[in-house]
Amino acid sequence: MRISIKWLFGTLLLAQVPVAWSLGEDGLVLDGLSPEESGIAIFREADRRESGYQDLTVDLQMTLRNSRGAQSQRKLRIRQLEVPADGDKLLVIFDTPKPIRGTALLSYAHKVEPDDQWLYLPAAKRVKKITSRNKSGPFLSSEFAYEDLALQVVEKYSYRLLETEWVNGEEFVIVERVPVDEYSGYARQVVTLDVAELRIHHISYYDRRNNLLKTLEVDGYRKYANRYWKAQRMLMTNHQTGKSTELTWQNYAFATGLEDVRDFSTNSLRRSR
């Protein structure tokens, strides 16, 4: 199969590759790569296309539904900083429900070591470091685990390209990824991305016993800053409990001038509003 190479040489190979496979000007060509190499090449390229944003801010609304259809909502604000040498940094501020208003989460993603995470509890004025072991636990009692919403770092999984398929004239790749971390709640995930822009459309999550646990559907992609594709809607369905959580992303802004130390330290966590 095709999609190949280190994208470093992409521009050189571009001329020889069929148009459908010249994924952007830097090209991702998988010719001659094993399924494992192809998988990692796809996610490296997807990661590269998300890079360069400097920082971003976005508003997130979560709608939790149980199997009887009862709803509960949470509103959050997210600030994210690109850290080229390591994983990115993330600050999440909770706005509703009101009893948890002002609670905030600071996370430093790392490529190899476990992420660092701190929670700020406004009533106690206390910053609490939390164990990264919690990663498989639910985020704000939703169907998303911490690790599902954590900043995705390519090195945290091993990959294998399973197949490609055409749907309605659009080509997709299906890649299996296996978490490296022993504390992950998943045995594996199966991810569907479109070939044209390497956007994730679907993920199946398999629990530690390798049973299908959850599926994520992603849609409403919009291009921001003439460059970054961001989804407006994500729906996570837990097939073992019938519960679901819908995420609505709004008001994306890029390169807003956030600063590493000023906006992403435990000091800033303490004063986040």
């Binding site: 360069g52 944003y53 400097q54 920082d55 801010t57 508003d59 939790l64 149980n66 509960s72 909502q73 604000r77 600030r79 509703t96 429900p97 009101k98 009893p99 948890i100 208003r101 002002g102 660092d116 106690a124 004025k125 206390r126 470091k129 164990t131 990264s132 072991r133 919690n134 498989s136 636990g137 639910p138 009692s141 504390y183 709640g185 921001y224 800053a225 003439n226 460059r227 709004q250 008001n251 994306y252 802004a253 890029f254 390169a255 807003t256 001038g257 956030l258 600063e259 130390v261 000023r262 906006d263 330290s265 435990t266 000091n267 800033s268 004063r271 509003r273």
Partner: protein, 529 residues
């Protein structure tokens, strides 16, 4: 010097830009705002450039109002300009069209110092980025918020008090939080008043300014002036190192509720850690339950006649400097405090009518405090330690232990934490200001991870030598989106029955004797507005 250099570099950039831009006689040139500060213009230009994926330049110009730096695109051909406008609109960027671009722009490049009055500067200039920020609802916005929490509480004791105090103690509380930020969130103002009404204990009815301060935030420093709350510490069952704020003891005997402390606080962040310098301007006396209150010593406390070691009494300025840092999986803090002790000593004073009262006396102490926490997988190892002089003989005390988190116990969503801590005080039975001198604490923390954020902590602190114990329960859950229910309970036991009132004050085996009948369950409903 540096400024001049930067301007010159800007000039070269502008000149090059127009040389490269090519078709000077084309159709349109767009301005994305003008600034009086060149740095603001440069920052804005890099953002606009990134968003639009085109080159933009900063151009210096003057008009009757002075010097302006405006962010401009190259002169664009019709289709290119249309595309830029489309993307700009999609990103909610405002722009202006320069009319008669050819002549004026060329003039400004040829002689950039000359006033170019026929090119309108865009105003209000400085507020452009702020306006945009508000439009897109992004991070560095101006925030104004008013929050109000109303609490309805009832403490029910299992028995009447030793002095006949009531079993039922209803109370109300009101907590407000006003916050306002401006200057791109680099300055803010916070005001958080608190009021408690207790139907039984008039000493518990009180008002306090929890916070009232102004903050200024720099790139690697924070400055806060005013009344604030600062918490330090990592352990669960006692808070040894926490020293900045006075304990609001009538609120809760776990010493987690604090009175507002006036201070000037500077925090600087460096590669080698965070340095916090606090000047504590003025002292707050601890609150104590009154005659009709529960959870108090057998002898009434008379806080109105507190005495001080310092001649300045409550006006003494205290200081504390703390260094905190992260090393791999460990974080730690080390501080030195010098000032009036938050813990009082007590003097037993006879009154003319033959009764006795306890009068708080606040000595001046020096205290070194250390706290550290290291996380390995699901284990968190914790220690808090202090070394104090000026409070009787020099002594040290520590609280050390671990918390192990079991995620999703027995296939459920519930996280279970096991907490084990050992609390030690070098003074042993002479440690009159604490119940925890050789105590083992064991607790379980339950986090149900349900829609209502239900959680609970159940623990017991057991004195391994005297067999006194305290059982502690704290549980909470939300009721819908605006209410929470908090349940707290304590049970005391194991203390020797004192022969007389002095025994209950001085017998090391009966330190908790006075509260043996004070087991209680407290329900608190809070409405959040």
């Amino acid at each position: 010097m540096a400024g001049a250099l930067q301007k010159r570099r800007g000039l070269v950039f502008v000149t090059l830009f127009y040389l490269l831009a090519g078709n000077i006689h084309a159709d349109e040139q767009l301005v994305f705002g003008s600034f009086q500060n060149s740095q603001n213009a440069t920052n804005w230009a890099s953002r606009v450039g990134l968003l639009l994926d085109i080159g933009v330049a900063v151009e210096r110009m003057e008009d009757a109002d002075g010097v302006w730096y405006r962010v401009v695109t190259a002169v664009l051909t019709d289709p290119a300009a249309e595309k830029v406008k489309r993307v700009a609109s999609a990103n909610q960027l405002r722009y202006w069209n320069i009319t008669e671009a050819n002549t004026t722009v060329v003039a400004s490049v040829a002689n950039p110092q000359a006033p170019v009055r026929n090119v309108p500067a865009v105003r209000p200039a400085e507020s452009l980025s702020e306006a945009n920020v508000q439009n897109t609802g992004q991070g560095r916005e101006r925030i104004r918020s008013v929050d109000l929490d109303l609490g309805i509480e009832t403490r029910t004791f299992f028995e009447s008090g030793k002095d006949g105090q009531s079993r039922f103690h209803p109370a109300l509380s009101l907590q407000m939080d006003l916050y306002r930020s401006w200057d791109n969130e680099q300055q803010s103002f916070t005001f958080a008043p608190f009021y408690r009404f207790d139907a039984e204990d008039s000493e518990r009815t009180h008002f306090d300014v929890r916070e009232l301060f102004w903050s200024r935030v720099g790139n690697d420093w924070d400055l806060h002036l005013g009344v604030r709350q600062v918490f330090w510490g990592v352990t669960e069952f006692s808070h040894l190192v926490d020293i900045v704020n006075q304990t609001d003891l009538v609120e809760n005997i776990d010493r987690e509720e604090k009175l507002g402390q006036p201070m000037a606080h500077l925090s600087v962040i460096r590669d080698w850690g965070i340095l916090d310098i606090h000047l504590l301007t003025g002292f707050r006396e601890r609150t104590f339950p009154g005659r009709d209150g529960r959870l108090r010593p057998a002898v009434e406390i008379d806080p109105d006649h507190a005495t001080y070691e310092s001649a300045a009494e409550e006006l003494r300025t205290d200081g504390v400097i703390r260094w905190s840092h992260r090393l791999g999986p460990m974080e730690f803090g080390l501080y030195q405090f010098s000032g009036t002790s938050r813990d009082p000593e007590f003097q037993l004073v006879p009154l003319p009518d033959g009764e006795f009262v306890l009068r708080p006396h606040y000595p001046v102490i020096d205290q070194t405090g250390f706290d550290a926490q290291a996380i390995f997988g699901d284990w968190a190892w914790k220690i808090e330690a202090i070394n104090r002089t000026g409070f009787g003989d020099r002594y040290y005390a520590y609280n050390a232990g671990f918390e192990r988190t079991l995620v999703g116990v027995m296939g459920s969503r519930t996280d279970l934490g096991l907490v084990v801590e050992y609390l030690y005080d070098e003074r042993q039975e002479e440690a009159f200001n604490t119940l925890f001198e050789h105590d083992l604490a064991v607790g379980t923390r339950w986090n149900l991870n349900d829609v209502n954020d239900s959680q609970a902590l159940l623990g017991v602190i057991w004195d391994v030598e005297t067999d006194e114990y305290i059982v502690k329960l704290e549980a909470s859950r939300r009721l819908g989106d605006t209410w929470t229910l908090l349940i707290e309970g304590r049970a005391f036991g194991g203390a020797d029955e004192p022969d007389n009132i002095f025994d209950s004050l001085f017998d090391p085996d009966a330190k908790s004797a006075a509260v043996q009948d004070d087991d209680f369950i407290q329900l608190e409903l809070t409405r959040y507005f």
